[in-house]
């Protein structure tokens, strides 16, 4: 996480099945060196993952008034959010009920958890 100012972070690279164990050396909050990678992609991943790790968050929320008897609609953050905001985003969508019909791209929760990112529907529910 970004709070680490100096030292080493050990990560598993996700770019290919090799799954290199990366050692990211950090000093004064800056990445000094990535070792353990066997290609350039590993270094890029290591740097990003230590300085600014992000994820798309997906969930589902309840719907009301579905003509097909659907109970939920799936949703996601419209773009990736900081990794440490994952649970805040989930908390922001929990308990939300949206009326049908719902279309892909409809905003379920605007600016979820103050990330500046909307949570949008990912399914057509009638």
């Amino acid at each position: 996480m970004s709070e680490l100012k100096s030292g080493h972070r050990v990560l598993t690279c996700i770019n290919c099945p090799l799954g290199c164990t990366l050692d990211v050396e950090i000093a004064d909050g800056e990445v000094v060196r990535v070792t353990g990678n066997t290609c350039k992609r590993g270094e890029v991943y290591g740097r990003k993952e230590v300085t600014n790790p992000t994820r798309i968050v997906t969930s589902s929320v309840f719907v009301s008034g579905s003509s097909t008897g659907a109970r939920t609609v799936s949703c996601k953050t419209a773009s990736d959010v900081p990794k440490d905001k994952i649970f805040d985003v989930i908390d922001a969508v929990r308990g939300v009920t949206v009326p049908c019909p719902v279309h892909i791209g409809d905003v379920i929760v605007p600016d979820a958890a103050g990330c500046g990112v909307d949570v949008i529907a990912t399914k057509e529910v009638f």
Partner: protein, 434 residues
């Protein structure tokens, strides 16, 4: 009427096959789907990561499905949901297929077609197939059932969870249930390596501090009415539990993510030859099964890691099925059996457990042939060679190959052009010489 093509299953494989068959000229196409909506298992796979290859963007499962549903409806392809296919048969003289299906609205209906694409997908391996001893308490779910309960029905099936098996659905559910407030204690994997994609290990387990216990298995399930806990033991190289390594985990839920099996009851009844390794039909380069005019693609053929490759494979199968239908229609019931010779069986050594397709007829090759396979164990620093009658025609260096990640080889059409009399096609995985 006789349809050009009937597609059995409206999941990712069926949708791509129907769409490609339409592109290839078929107009009378019917897709039969047993669920109430098209899209298959994608509807409950609400996580993202689908479509990077197909659409060059990361979509969730339902979004990926909708792209194909829109393509299908845009082409005016006929489909029936809530329709369960009971039987498929093929007339051995005319090669006309008969598909018997039942639905609430249409009752029992018999359809005819020149060609059929099998796209029924796969099913999860169940507890019964694992022989775990103990009572039968509530709280044991397959990972896919839990996924449906959480993502579609809106129920959380448990609060304290252990996952047996490290298949991708189990990993995805470890994250999903954690986000919904459950505590996932551990994921136990019998093998010394994970069955899931690296990306899922990192983003579903590591992100949430969930331990992955390799070479471990569940040796006891406790609880009579409801699961109260499980015992996890380490296993040796023989995959048998090591006495003294038992550890008790108090939990109310056990999820099983222990493999997927192609769903081929209909294919077997129809008489297609089934591979004992893949559990799916044996096919030629055209994805044609041993029954002429019956094609197969997607997870019914062999279990894939990525839906993008299911779509690609099914599109090829759909195009070949369309070509078959057109040819049979032209011949008005006098098929040329000569044309259906499936050719050379692909042989392999040094790692692959199987190949799909299993057969290639060089005379039938039109366009590039993708040969997909999986290895049986983790292999490092290898060279994959394709040998035509002993001559290496393609060589690919692979730093690592793992059972959890499907491999593919692209054999260009030109390779076959000068090799119509080919006798042997061999895939050889060799250690890289230093």
């Amino acid at each position: 009427m006789i349809y050009d093509l009937i597609v059995i299953g409206g999941g990712p494989a069926g949708l791509a096959a129907a769409s490609a068959a339409h592109d290839a000229g078929s107009r009378e196409i019917l897709v039969l789907e047993r669920d109430e909506r098209l899209g298959g298992i994608l509807n409950q796979c609400i996580h993202n990561g689908f479509g990077l290859h197909t659409f060059k963007e990361e979509l969730t499962g339902p979004e990926y499905a909708q792209r194909y549903i829109d393509i299908l409806t845009g082409k005016g392809i006929e489909y029936k949901t809530d329709t369960m296919v009971l039987d498929i048969s093929s007339d051995k003289d005319t090669l006309i297929k008969t598909v018997t299906a039942v639905s609430g609205s249409d009752g029992l209906t018999v359809y005819s077609a020149y060609a059929v694409v099998l796209a029924m997908g796969c099913r999860e391996r169940s507890r019964g197939a694992l022989n775990i001893p103990g009572y039968r308490p509530a709280g044991i779910f397959s990972a896919g059932t839990a996924q449906r309960l959480v993502n579609i029905e809106g129920y959380l099936p448990g609060r304290r969870v252990v996952i047996l098996g490290s298949g991708d659905i189990g990993l995805i559910m470890a994250r999903r249930m954690t986000l919904e407030g459950a505590k996932v204690l551990a994921c136990a994997e019998l093998m010394p390596y994970s069955g899931g994609l690296k990306r899922n290990i990192v983003q579903c387990l590591d992100d949430f501090g969930i331990p992955l216990l390799l070479s471990h298995t569940v040796t006891e399930i406790r609880g009579k009415e409801r699961v109260t806990g499980v015992v996890i033991s380490e296993v040796g190289e023989d995959r048998k539990p090591i006495p003294g390594t038992e550890r008790f985990y108090e939990c109310d839920t056990l999820l099983l993510s222990v493999g997927l099996l192609p769903e081929n009851e209909l294919s077997k009844e129809l008489g297609t030859e089934i591979s004992p390794v893949t559990g799916g039909p044996v096919v030629s380069e055209s994805f044609e099964t041993s029954v002429p005019g019956v094609f197969a693609a997607g997870n019914v053929l062999h279990v894939h890691d990525l839906v993008d490759f299911v779509s690609e494979e099914a599109a090829a199968a759909g195009a070949h099925a369309a070509a078959f239908a057109a040819e049979l229609k032209d011949r008005a019931g006098a098929p040329d059996t000569e044309l259906r010779d499936r050719g050379i069986e692909i042989t392999f050594d040094g790692g692959p457990r199987y190949t799909v397709p299993q057969f290639i007829n060089p005379a039938h090759v039109s366009g590039p042939v993708k040969v997909r396979f999986r290895v049986g164990s983790v292999l490092k620093n290898r060279v994959v060679k394709v040998l035509f009658d002993g001559n290496c025609v393609l060589s690919k260096k692979r730093n690592v190959m793992a059972p959890g990640e499907m491999e593919e080889l692209l054999l260009k059409e030109e390779l076959f052009a000068g090799n119509r009399g080919l006798k042997e096609i061999r895939i050889s995985v060799e250690e890289e010489s230093v």
